[in-house]
Each structure stands twice: as structure tokens, then as C-alpha cells.
Point group: C2
């Protein structure tokens, strides 16, 4: 059941530690131990988080002597942005307008999703 790119990206982003790591990396490349420092968590735990981020394509790992520096790669976030864009009108439309619209639709048990906007 091959999970697609968005699956990996979204689930990588679903963890606060990983988002914090990304925030940290937004300030610049760092080593694993340094990334681990702010979290009360073992090294291997952070290492695993990094692997998840790497699988999602959100970080790139280098080789600097015994360090494997991590750097942010925001390209996948662009994909997220594109996916989100699809729903933009739904949060831009005022709430009341939306609810009103929904009431209309639900009264005639619409099934093929004909969109009367």
C-alpha cells in the first residue's frame, strides 16, 4: 500500500518535535546532537525523526567528517501549498455564507455533488 508523497509529507509534519526541528533548520544547518539538544529525548529518537523528515524530502543530509549535518529542503512544502490552494476559496468565503450554502444542498439530498456556486 505505497503511501504517496503527500502522505509522507503530512505525517512528517504531524509531529511537534519534527516541526521544531524544521524551525531550527530554517535558521541554518546543524548537527544531529545540536538538533537533539533542545528536546528532552535521546539521540536515537531524534535520529529517527530525522529519518522521517528525510523520507518526506524535507531535509538533506551532508557529510562533514563524523557529522551528518542536516539542512532544510522546503520543496515538499510547496507541494503542500499547492494542495492547500485547492481549498482556498473555502476559508476565504465567509463562514455564514458557507453554512447557508450547505443548508441548501443538504435539503435536497444531493449526491452527485453538483456545485452551485
Amino acid at each position: 500500500m505505497t503511501p504517496n508523497r503527500l502522505d509522507n509529507i503530512f505525517s512528517a509534519l504531524a509531529d511537534p518535535t519534527r516541526r521544531a526541528i524544521l524551525a531550527r533548520l530554517a535558521l541554518g544547518t546543524t548537527s544531529v546532537t545540536e538538533l537533539a539538544e533542545p528536546f528532552r529525548m535521546s539521540g536515537p529518537a531524534v535520529s529517527k525523526h530525522l529519518k522521517v523528515l528525510e523520507r518526506a524530502g524535507l531535509i538533506i543530509r551532508g557529510r562533514e567528517a563524523q557529522w551528518r549535518p542536516c539542512s532544510l529542503d522546503a520543496a515538499p512544502l510547496k507541494e503542500v501549498r499547492d494542495w492547500l490552494e485547492h481549498y482556498r476559496r473555502f476559508w476565504e468565503t465567509s463562514f455564514d455564507r458557507l453554512e447557508e450554502y450547505l443548508q441548501e444542498v443538504q435539503t435536497n439530498g444531493d449526491s452527485d455533488g453538483t456545485d452551485q456556486r
Copy 2:
């Protein structure tokens, strides 16, 4: 370990079935059975997915006789958009520019993330 809003939103979005449900709901309110139809999956399974989406605030559930119609609520997506916005410059900046920048930073083992851009 109370998961925060973004945790719930991102993990709700991390499943393809749930994203498909949202896409479906973007076309209009529907019943649970109708939502379930396109997926080869039991009713209760869909019901659980809906609960996840509801917990993330992405859907609103109504009461219409024995139906519990679902409708999209995109407000949480706005939060995601706002979070993403934080990283915008990273995907807008050309890749080469980013890597170049990272090399600079990593050569002086920067730890406090002083951002020289």
C-alpha cells in the same frame, strides 16, 4: 501529552482516504454512506476517519433525521497555510542559492542560528 491543533490537522491530512473525503466534501455536503461508497472499506472505517477529521475541526456534522451529514470546514487549513507561510522564502529562493547559503553557515559550526541573510 496533549497534541496541539497542528498535530491533529496534519495527521488528519496524512491519510489519502481522508484527503479524498475532504475533496468529496468540497463538492457539497453528503451522508456517511455516500462518502463511504467510493472506498473499498467498511462503514465503521469511514466513520472513524470522519471522527479524525472532526477532531481536527475539518468537518462539521449535522443532524438530518437518521443521517449525520458531513460538511467541510476549511478553517484549519487556513492555520496550515499560515504555518507554511513561515517557510515560503525557502521554496521561493532558488535551490542553488540555498545550498550555497547552507555551506557558509555550516563551515563555522553555527549553533545559535544567527541568520545572516
